[in-house]
């Protein structure tokens, strides 16, 4: 008899998630060849991650930013607003370059949704930056230094009535929304709800409904893409994403400068807030893995990079909460696919404190020989194909670098070649060379 989910060990859960991913339910493969490719690719990635046996060759992944748009002669603006064009461009990209997985048609996001809500947190193509430029974050303190108490007391209410009005211009009236956790007796309940009757609040809700419809429309395209790609032979490389607790607070709530000052001025509050957020973001990863029958949850790392904090700060503020989050996911059989943006040389010793075969670490700037040496027995490492080479280098330079990566990191498995950072307008021939060379040179004998 099959074991019940709650009785399984983390290892068994991970294996069960991988098996579901290897034999995706409800996918009608376009051809026997597509099915064969799908299984080979998924198995290759699984073997590289689990480190139980050597894959047949080094897997090759391409994780683009707006490259598929440029490659199809479109601008980032086009694909943020025309969902069909986006789907077609992303499909063309994966079909033409044939990497071992696809990463969804998610980068663009629904442009009109952001327009409707007057999104303040980012500039995006045609909205603060030119049509041919990628979206970029407006750094700021969207949660103020003295708002930790309110945040800790009730994060949901804080998001509803403080964060949302700040990041969405159209939801500014939400400042007036009541805290519904005080609904209790019949007596008094009517009073709690009066803000929903205010004309400006009602206008805000109308915008929210319209934005929701737009998100749903976009999601239709998004899910169609998620269905079509496996049928064409591409397993999905990410079921969803989650984040490190320090980055959750630092990226879009306190801001880079704000959170850095908090480490000195109010360290206890910062730690308490990270603790508070961790279960939400573990749960998010598990739910998305369940929803999409895929063990891989993407996890971009930002503010723990080399230089962005001292070793002591990393060990005090960054790693313990990231580790807690990772272990929460690993316990549920989910595989965190971390992308360490920036430098990571000073972090390698710290992050090796993890169970074996449970994570992937995609590196941007790191000494890959050292990374293999330190993490080689613990985790699959990935990435490091430099942006300058892909953008302005020659195919020969890309080939030379790929060879070096495979020579240095490929031994025994546990390495996935991939771009070091999401890529925009790079040379297609360089991307092609990276994939084709790996398929030829990266075969394990």
């Amino acid at each position: 008899m099959e074991k019940k989910w709650e009785e399984m060990t983390p290892d068994e859960k991970q294996e069960a998630r991988f098996q579901k991913w290897l034999s995706p339910e409800g996918v009608k493969f376009a051809s026997p060849e597509a099915e064969k490719l799908y299984k080979e690719r998924a198995t290759r990635i699984k073997d590289a991650i689990q480190m139980k046996k050597k894959p047949d060759r080094v897997p090759v992944l391409l994780i683009p930013s707006f490259f598929p748009a440029f490659y199809s002669g479109l601008t980032p603006r086009d694909v943020m607003y025309d969902y069909e064009k986006a789907n077609n461009a992303w499909k063309k990209f994966y079909v033409d370059f044939q990497p071992d997985a696809h990463f969804g048609c998610v980068a663009p996001g629904p442009g009109r949704f952001f327009d409707i809500l007057d999104y303040k947190l980012y500039k995006w193509p045609g909205h603060g930056v030119p049509n041919n430029i990628t979206y970029q974050c407006n750094e700021g303190e969207y949660m103020k230094a003295d708002e930790y108490e309110a945040f800790l007391q009730d994060p949901t209410h804080f998001f509803n009535t403080t964060v949302m009005p700040r990041i969405f211009g159209a939801l500014e009236p939400f400042k007036q929304l009541p805290n519904v956790t005080t609904i209790n007796e019949m007596y008094g309940t009517g009073i709690i709800f009066y803000p929903y009757g205010l004309p400006d609040v009602q206008t805000a809700f109308k915008a929210l409904l319209e934005a929701g419809s737009e998100a749903l429309k976009w999601l239709g395209y998004f899910m169609a893409f998620e269905k079509e790609m496996p049928a064409l032979g591409f397993p999905s490389g990410q079921a969803g994403y989650t984040k490190a607790p320090y980055d959750i607070l630092g990226d879009t709530l306190r801001g880079t400068r704000g959170i850095m000052a908090d480490m000195y001025r109010q360290p206890e509050k910062l730690i308490e807030a990270m603790d508070k957020m961790t279960p939400f973001w573990i749960q998010k990863g598990i739910i998305e893995s369940n929803m999409n029958s895929n063990p891989l949850i993407f996890l971009p790392l930002h503010k723990g990079a080399d230089g962005f904090m001292s070793d002591e700060q990393y060990k005090k503020f960054y790693w313990p909460y990231l580790k807690k989050l990772l272990l929460g996911l690993i316990d549920a059989g989910v595989v965190p696919f971390l992308w360490a943006e920036g430098g990571s040389n000073s972090r390698l010793e710290v992050i090796q404190d993890l169970p074996k075969g449970k994570t992937v670490w995609l590196f941007d700037a790191v000494d890959m020989i050292k990374a293999k040496e330190i993490l080689g027995d613990v985790a699959c490492i990935a990435g490091n194909m430099p942006m300058d080479l892909l953008t302005i280098g020659t195919p020969q330079q890309v080939k030379d670098y790929a060879k070096k990566l495979i020579d240095n990191c490929g031994e025994g498995g546990g390495y996935i070649i991939a771009n070091c950072a999401f890529f925009d307008d790079v040379k297609p021939e360089n991307v092609r060379t990276m994939v084709e060379f790996t398929k030829e040179y990266g075969v394990y004998k």
Partner: protein, 210 residues
């Protein structure tokens, strides 16, 4: 007491530093002297950053403390501070890119190392750099960019300097997350800096070479 302010600021002891400033102000001391000590403290912060004893959060926090100190001192200032500065440097993040953390760190380090930095901000069109170079007569220019899309903006900015007849009069450094020697060649800049300290070394080298 002068040394106390220099050291407490350098050691990032915010409350103590502010206490000292308040005491010195109420004792009627020349506010310019207080600011000069604060500057010395920041110089030590810069040195500690250069020797990897301090990291970015330490710079950011020292900036926060300096801001608090300046706010206390400024109302008492009767004349502007005079300081002898090294060369002028025009600095900014190039067109289409709004990233400022890296740029701000380099500007901070150049400033505490005595350069007069004209920070134009982010998303700066090539022509604005040209105008500022003309206006300030700065011999050094720093171009920052985080996105790979900034490679082209950097290139265009260097070309705009050439078109304006300024290229021989300025040394151009570039920097940012994905900047390498390959990118330097592509953009036509004179050098690239891997980090803030590399930027300071370049500026010092260029300043003394004149």
């Amino acid at each position: 007491m002068a040394q106390d302010l220099v050291n407490t600021l350098a050691d990032l002891k915010e409350q103590e530093a502010i206490g000292i400033v308040k005491d010195r102000l109420s004792a009627g001391e020349d506010p310019l002297k207080i600011l000069e000590d604060a500057r010395k403290g920041m110089e030590i912060v810069g040195n500690r950053f250069a020797s990897s004893e301090y990291f970015i959060p330490d710079l950011v926090y020292s900036g926060e403390i300096l801001k608090a100190v300046s706010e206390l001192v400024k109302p008492k200032l009767t004349k502007a501070a005079e300081s002898k500065k090294l060369d002028k440097i025009v600095f900014g993040t190039v067109a289409g890119d709004i990233h400022d953390i890296g740029k701000d760190i380099v500007v901070f380090m150049l400033d505490v190392n005595g350069f007069e930095v004209h920070d134009l901000g982010v998303d700066i069109p090539a022509q604005k750099f040209v105008e500022k170079i003309k206006e300030t007569d700065a011999p050094i220019v720093g171009l920052s960019g985080f996105l790979t899309l900034a490679f082209d903006s950097m290139k265009e900015t260097v070309e705009a300097m050439k078109a304006a007849g300024l290229r021989d009069k300025v040394k151009v450094m570039i920097g940012g997350g994905q900047i390498t020697e390959e990118v330097r060649k592509y953009t036509g800049a004179d050098a690239y800096g891997k980090d803030a300290m590399a930027g300071v070394s370049l500026a010092k080298k260029w300043a003394s070479a004149k």
